[in-house]
């Protein structure tokens, strides 16, 4: 709210540069408009002036590239292998980067043998195939790659992932997909505790079971667990949705069951079919868990207190 005044003063000078920047139509066009349209075109509507507007003030152009400027051009048909057996984690990750710079779009990592932090920080489209198991923090902080892992992953796999897909054939450790922001993270086996803790978007799909405190402090996104869930499921979740196919040992604070809608069923069917995890008996048996929103106390301050913090 503090910015309102300065906003108005910026609007005052009516020179050409300002008008162009604000995309204000020429006067002739303005005259032809109705009063209401003219007010909006000039940015003088009340909601615009008070900053309450939810209008998106720009349109991302078709030609705009949403890739990182340094992103290499990859050819997905160019495939190569890395034998990680004798390499350190740093060497493997540097090797992946060097190969991407050479244009390799499909990279196979062999013999990872439970090494930690393999394939982290890849901010690009890439087919990354891991033949074996990873240790902690595997493929964390990624934005874009499609990863297939034939073995198992340790704690904190795909932490803070932004986009892309990660498919794990076997089991996963605890804090699976912690602080996930986007993309699809799939584990066909069972995962440990605190799955999707602090999740902020994206989708986590678990073919088997999940441990205690899954979806703890979840803020957005969806989590699907085909098997059973441990105790305190969705504890203190702010928002987001959890679907559980099996038994729920117990729900956490402010996590409540909700009715499965047709939209949920359609979405579940599509997602689970996509990753070959569709249960034989369909998706009708899934329990949907959402936030009860009883802990939403952010805006309950007294006016005097509000003044203090603003």
């Amino acid at each position: 709210m503090a910015g309102v005044e300065s906003d108005v003063s910026e609007r005052a000078p009516d020179d050409k540069a300002t008008r162009d920047a604000r995309k204000v139509p020429p006067d002739a066009e303005l005259r032809g408009m109705s009063q209401e349209d003219r007010v909006k075109a000039l940015g003088m509507a009340t909601d615009q002036l008070t900053g309450r507007s939810m209008y998106i003030e720009f349109q991302p152009g078709e030609e705009e590239r949403f890739t990182y400027p340094w992103a290499p051009d990859l050819d997905f048909n160019k495939r190569t292998e890395i034998d990680a057996g004798e390499l350190s984690t740093t060497e493997v990750n540097q090797r992946i980067r060097a190969l991407m710079a050479e244009g390799y779009g499909s990279i196979v990592v062999q013999n990872p043998r439970g090494k930690h932090s393999i394939g982290v920080g890849i901010l690009n489209r890439l087919n990354l195939i891991i033949e074996g198991s990873l240790g902690y923090f595997g493929v964390g902080l990624i934005d874009g790659p499609n990863v297939r892992i034939s073995g198992r992953v340790g704690w904190s796999c795909a932490e803070n992932m932004m986009a892309g897909t990660v498919v794990i054939e076997k089991n996963a450790g605890s804090t699976f997909g912690a602080a996930l922001r986007g993309g699809d993270l799939v584990c066909k086996g069972s995962v440990g505790s605190r799955t999707g803790i602090d999740m902020k978007g994206g989708t986590i799909i678990v073919g088997g079971e999940t441990g205690a405190l899954s979806g703890f402090m979840m803020q957005r996104g969806r989590m699907v667990v085909c098997g059973n869930a441990g105790k305190n499921l969705g504890d203190s979740m702010y928002d987001g949705t959890i679907y559980v196919g099996g038994e729920i040992k117990s729900l956490g604070v402010d996590a409540v069951k909700a009715e499965l809608s047709d939209l949920d069923r359609k979405w579940l069917t599509r997602k689970l079919t996509q990753y070959g995890l569709m249960p034989e008996r369909g998706v009708d048996h899934f329990t949907k868990v959402v936030a009860g929103k009883q802990l939403w106390n952010y805006d309950n301050l007294e006016p005097s207190e509000k003044k203090l913090i603003l």
């Binding site: 930690h116 240790g135 198992r152 340790g154 089991n171 605890s174 205690a212």
Partner: protein, 312 residues
């Protein structure tokens, strides 16, 4: 942080010494302060393996060249006390200038014997049992295993620990594994922090149990010994510990023919488990299991409050 590892063979023996060394060396990054092993060979009825140390590292460093005499005096006193108890010493091995391994023959109460030997100033019994060999010292797994010639030790099972000192000093008395004094052949390794340590310790001390260090993990050894002495099965003891001991912990207990694990109610400390028909391996990180099993394997994470016991 600490790293723990354990393995148990079903119905066969292997070079457990070398395998445990490789596993703990792979976990070195979880704590390089000290490393310890508790490995179990073929039990010899009537013969006991007594492992003890004569002084703590800090005392040896502080005493300088005079330490030789002091250690000798203590060793002579131990020999005298063993003789007094009618113990026949069948072999004596000097692992380091302060750590010894005796094979003794003894009929009667081992607890009284252990207490009498430990009464010598500076002396701590690391382990006493028919099959347990417990070694621990400062340094990483390769250093300790080399010093104590662990490689080539054939046995059925073992547990080990690599320590990052958080709750107490870097010294041998705070290193794991802990022998569950005076319970023959029982040892414990732990990863985590125990928050009701002092309450529980005072409770145990009132019942007459001895503590040699300020390390919270020692409590688990004493607690297990206390339960076993009262006729509680290992599995039940592990289960009870989850509700009676506060904090975060994953710990392993080994007895003459069993290996057990327990995980706290929050599942806050890691453990990766591999099970096959003839071998069960567990460690804080998969990388340790891979150090001894290069082939493709399936592993799982035990869940919160999970308790497992395997028979050799």
């Amino acid at each position: 942080m600490c790293g723990i590892a354990g393995l148990i063979y079903r119905g066969k023996s292997s070079d457990v010494g070398a395998e445990m060394t490789s596993m703990l060396q792979a976990l070195k990054h979880r704590g390089p302060d000290s490393t310890g092993f508790a490995v179990y060979g073929a039990p010899s009825e009537g013969d006991y393996i007594l492992r003890f140390k004569l002084a703590e590292k800090e005392e040896i460093d502080a005493a300088g060249y005079r330490i030789g005499e002091r250690l000798k005096a203590r060793l002579d006193e131990i020999e005298r006390r063993l003789e007094e108890h009618g113990v026949e010493v069948k072999s004596r091995t000097k692992a380091t200038e302060y750590a010894y391994r005796f094979v003794i023959r003894h009929e009667g109460d081992t607890e009284a014997l252990a207490r009498y030997v430990e009464d010598v100033e500076g002396v701590e019994i690391l382990s006493l049992g028919n099959s347990l060999e417990l070694i621990k010292d400062l340094g990483d797994a390769a250093t300790v295993a080399g010093q104590y010639e662990l490689k080539g030790f054939t046995g059925t099972h073992g547990i080990g620990h690599t320590r990052m000192a958080t709750e107490s000093d870097v010294d041998i008395r705070s290193a794991h594994p802990y022998w569950a004094f005076p319970y023959n052949d029982v040892s414990v390794v732990h990863n985590g922090q125990i928050t009701n340590y002092w309450t529980m310790r005072r409770q145990m001390e009132r019942k007459g149990h001895r503590f040699t260090s300020d390390c919270d993990s020692e409590l688990l050894a004493v607690y297990t010994a206390h339960n076993l002495a009262n006729g509680v099965e290992l599995e039940e003891s592990l289960r009870r510990s989850i509700s009676e001991i506060d904090g975060v912990f994953t710990y392993l207990v080994a007895t003459r023919d069993q290996l057990g694990m327990a995980k706290d109610t929050m599942a806050a400390k890691p453990l990766v488990l591999y099970e096959s028909d003839d071998l069960i391996v567990m460690a804080s990180e998969e990388v340790a299991i891979r150090a001894i099993l290069p082939q493709e394997i399936d592993t799982t994470d035990p869940y919160d409050e999970e308790v497992r016991v395997w028979q050799a």
